[in-house]
């Protein structure tokens, strides 16, 4: 029986979302397969690692008992020794547990941004989901758009600025923006997920404030022209980069002028402005699956989603967010999420993939990719040192 470590929590603003992803959509389905020994690896907000059966229970996190539990439990160590090994505390010391596969369930910084994937690559262990490059690019909204543009994938008009540009000359930045982009405009920190620090602005005053807010969160800020006649859609995709399989195009049921901020997404259950009827409750609240769109637009969005998945070199699973100008009939790439919240299992279930089948497939992709990487030569013998 293979051992799978599900890593969640972490030093991220999306720490709590990560717990839900791990517990609801990964650990339980993996256990139900009866194919794997599943170890819950919880990373605290201050970066300590813990393992234990109790960490699989959502009630631990919902109560005040978490701190008490962590205070009474020894943290877990990590060793790179022909793969990844956890040093799990026991009553008399620590025992080594070799990990065959890692299933990251981390959102945001130090997890979804490629940092964890780099660690796992260094350890030489198979892991689920996108690799370092795809994850890092996806978490950088500026790089992501530049990569899309380079691959001929349409994006809305955008500009980017360093924090220093804004703090040194806010007026100049505002002038540059208004010369090239038309209101309404979105101002976003380039590296944060879950809509944190994002503001939609209509005039110069709001723009100035929004730039300051975004600069508070990040050193790189992206400013985008809002797409008119907007329909937001998202497409979960899974598979290896050369054979991605889409789920169903999903349309969040928000008013056109709204966007999902963190509060709407996670704290109000996606019910900003009141959830409309006929939707499905997913990790992002009420949404329409599949999105009711004209056939050609639906197909176009599918093509854009798959093109992004391939261009970014995604693997395992990802979710591509797109913006549609419904009057112009044009689809724009907006963002790529290398670890969709709760794996977007609600969408996959409607597409005919159960939670158990979903995690099984993701593990399968991880093992295929790992086997392929093992075949690659990364070192070779030279006489360089002898000549030195």
């Amino acid at each position: 029986m293979k051992t799978v470590a599900v890593i969640f929590g972490g030093r991220s603003a999306e720490h709590d979302v990560s717990i839900v992803t791990a517990l609801s959509s990964i650990i339980k389905p993996l256990e139900l397969t009866k194919q794997y020994r599943v170890i819950a690896v919880y990373i605290t907000k201050d970066g300590r690692w813990f393992t234990g059966e109790k960490l699989k229970d959502i009630h631990l996190y919902q109560s005040s008992k978490l701190e008490e539990y962590l205070a009474q439990t020894k943290s877990t160590g990590v060793v790179f020794d022909h793969g990844l090994k956890l040093l799990v505390p026991t009553r008399v010391g620590r025992k080594e547990v070799a990990i065959d596969i890692v299933f990251p369930a981390m959102h945001g910084t130090y997890g979804e941004d490629g940092a964890l994937m780099g660690l796992l690559d260094m350890a030489g262990v198979a892991y689920v989901g996108c690799g370092v490059a795809a994850s890092a690019i996806a978490m950088d909204k500026v790089l992501a758009k530049q990569l899309a543009v380079a691959n001929g994938i349409p994006v809305s008009m955008f500009l980017s600025f360093q924090k220093a540009d804004i703090t040194d000359d806010t007026v100049g930045v505002v002038t540059q923006i208004t010369a090239k982009l038309k209101y309404p405009i979105f101002v976003k920190p380039a590296h944060l997920g879950s809509s944190i620090g994002i503001t939609r602005v209509q005039n110069d005053t709001e723009l100035t404030n929004a730039l300051e807010v975004a600069a508070y969160y990040d050193n790189l800020i992206i400013v985008e022209e809002a797409v008119q006649n907007l329909i937001e859609v998202t497409l979960p995709i899974m598979g290896l980069a050369n054979n991605p399989q889409p789920a169903l195009l999903e349309k969040p049921l928000t008013a056109a002028e709204d966007f999902f901020d963190f509060d709407t997404k996670y704290l109000q259950g996606g019910k900003k402005g009141g959830g409309k009827k006929g939707g499905t409750t997913g990790s992002q609240g009420y949404s329409q699956i599949p999105a009711k769109l004209p056939k050609d637009i639906y197909a176009q969005a599918g093509h854009v989603g798959l093109a992004v998945y391939t261009a970014f070199g995604c693997s395992g699973t990802a979710r591509v967010d797109m913006l549609i100008d419904s009057k112009a009939g044009k689809v724009y790439f907006n963002e790529m999420n290398p670890l969709p919240g709760s794996l977007y299992a609600h969408n996959w279930a409607q597409a005919g993939v159960s939670k158990v089948a979903l995690v099984e497939k993701l593990i399968e992709y991880a093992l295929v990719r790992y086997a392929e990487r093992q075949k690659l030569a990364t070192t070779f013998d030279t006489n360089f040192l002898k000549q030195f």
Binding site: K28, L32, T33, W348, A349, A351, S354, K355
Partner: protein
């Protein structure tokens, strides 16, 4: 080591142990021998009370309180002896005291079995005997037709079917739920008013001679034999023995008042001249045709001469056509109008846990967990094979009480499952699993097989296993006393 510690905690914790022993006794209907077998085969007492909890009936409360007090007294006696022995006031007090302390769970686990046996003989038996004598008089003098429903399977469904269809034009009374033994027949007799046109009584055989005993009390005017299959073979030993008992219901009644489901091959040997058969081809001279089945129900036409009835039921499966045709034909023969019969059949729907479809996460689940025999599995797998689905899943722990035919029957189960060709087969880890797997392999099944070690966990997380477009058939369920 962990098991030992858990067993100590469970057995020596007096409140927990007293509830556990009564739960085990209750689960086997207060039969001492199966209880003792279960007790001695149990390795993890902490995991016994898993699927459900103790039902606090009067008897259960009485036994639990008795156990609690008994164990407490023995423990107190042990501690007292230990104390006295320690202070040299009683010779050997330490050893006797320790023996009492160590043995109290074991002693009282057996005492409760004895109490149960004595209670059955001294209290419950005589009381039931009095009720049964009274019931016999009520049934014998009842002016209505008394229809006995006997068979290895499908009894409760047939009873409900007759109540629903015949109830459209007649006053019908029937034994409630799946209460089908003498004591429940006696309670039912007491509830009869006397003006019922039809009285339907379900005969739940469990051991040789049961059906004869029921017949002697109920005095049925008509008998419906719903099918013969391997069931309760731990007591009957052979299907022939079970069939002989079931067919004993027909001994003293006119042959044309005996209706037999002839789809079960085993019934053929017991058919006598004049018995009336029914199956998916028709019943009582009516012919069933143009049959269609989907997840929403079963539709067919019933014709006789120039008469045609278009019937639609929410019951699922081709195997339901025979019973539906029979209920319709019997209704017509008893004077119901065609409209009443069509309406009655239209109101028939799956009973709880018997081929009962419901939707979950966009998938269809067919709950047939109350099924418990091979014919039910045959019908279920036939239904699964006929349904359209993106993915088909079949779930079963196997069948209980199959005696020395356990291996052969479960290999047949594997064969039937393989023939319905589901994408995924989910089995529950128990004594039947390897036989089903042998059957699957022998039949060349190439799909995926999952073996679940915790059935409750599986059933509680069904939504994790299915997705839109799936059809999952769940057949049979094992309670805690089966392993």
């Amino acid at each position: 080591m962990r098991n030992i510690w858990q067993n100590v905690r469970t057995l020596y914790g007096i409140p927990r142990a007293s509830a556990l022993f009564v739960y085990m006794l209750q689960s086997v209907e207060y039969r001492a021998w199966p209880y003792l077998v279960w007790f001695w085969q149990t390795q993890q007492f902490g995991a016994v009370m898993h699927r459900r909890t103790l039902e606090l009936t009067r008897a259960a409360r009485f036994l639990r309180a008795g156990l609690f007090v008994g164990m407490l007294l023995q423990l107190a006696g042990g501690i007292t002896l230990l104390y006295l022995g320690w202070h040299n006031l009683v010779t050997g007090g330490i050893w006797f005291g320790l023996a009492l302390i160590m043995s109290y769970p074991l002693v009282w686990a057996h005492v409760v079995a004895v109490v149960s046996v004595v209670g059955q003989i001294a209290v419950i038996g005589p009381r039931e005997a009095r009720h049964i004598v009274l019931a016999e008089r009520i049934f014998a003098s009842h002016p209505g037709r008394r229809i006995a429903i006997a068979g290895s399977y499908g009894k409760t469904s047939m009873k409900e079917l007759l109540v629903t269809v015949l109830g459209e034009g007649k006053k019908v009374a029937a034994t409630p739920a799946n209460q089908n033994v003498l004591s429940s027949h006696a309670r039912f007799a007491n509830s009869l008013v006397g003006d019922e046109d039809i009285v339907v009584v379900e005969f739940g055989e469990g051991k040789p001679g049961d059906v004869k005993r029921f017949t002697d009390v109920v005095h049925p005017t008509d008998a419906v034999i719903t099918g013969i299959a391997a069931a309760h073979l731990d007591r009957y030993k052979t299907i022939v023995a079970a069939a002989s008992d079931i067919f004993s219901v027909a001994t003293d009644m006119p042959a044309d008042h005996v209706y037999v489901n002839t789809e079960a091959e085993e019934a053929a040997a017991f058919m006598r001249e004049g018995y009336q058969g029914y199956d998916r081809r028709g019943a009582l001279g009516w012919r069933a045709q143009n049959i269609s089945v989907d997840i929403t129900g079963t539709r067919f036409e019933l014709t006789k001469g120039t008469q045609t009835l278009r019937l639609a039921s929410q019951l699922l499966g081709l195997h339901q056509v025979g019973p539906l045709a029979f209920a319709a034909a019997l209704g017509l023969s008893m004077g119901l109008t065609e409209m009443q019969v069509v309406t009655g059949i239209g109101q028939t729907k799956p009973f709880e846990h018997r081929m009962q479809p419901y939707q979950l996460a966009g998938a269809w689940i067919i709950d047939d967990t109350y099924n418990g025999n091979l014919e039910g599995i045959r019908a279920g797998t036939e239904l699964l094979a006929s349904l359209e689905a993106k993915r088909k899943l079949y779930v079963t722990p196997g069948l209980v009480e199959q005696g020395d035919q356990t291996a052969a029957i479960h290999q047949t189960v594997g064969d039937l499952i393989a023939k319905s060709n589901p994408d995924v087969v989910v089995l529950m880890q128990n004594s039947a699993t390897e036989h089903i797997q042998t059957g699957l392999t022998a039949a060349g099944y190439k799909g995926k097989v999952m073996v679940q070690t915790d059935p409750l966990d599986f059933y509680q997380h069904l939504d994790h296993f299915v997705a839109a477009g799936d059809v999952m058939l769940m057949q049979n369920d094992w309670t805690d006393n089966y392993r």
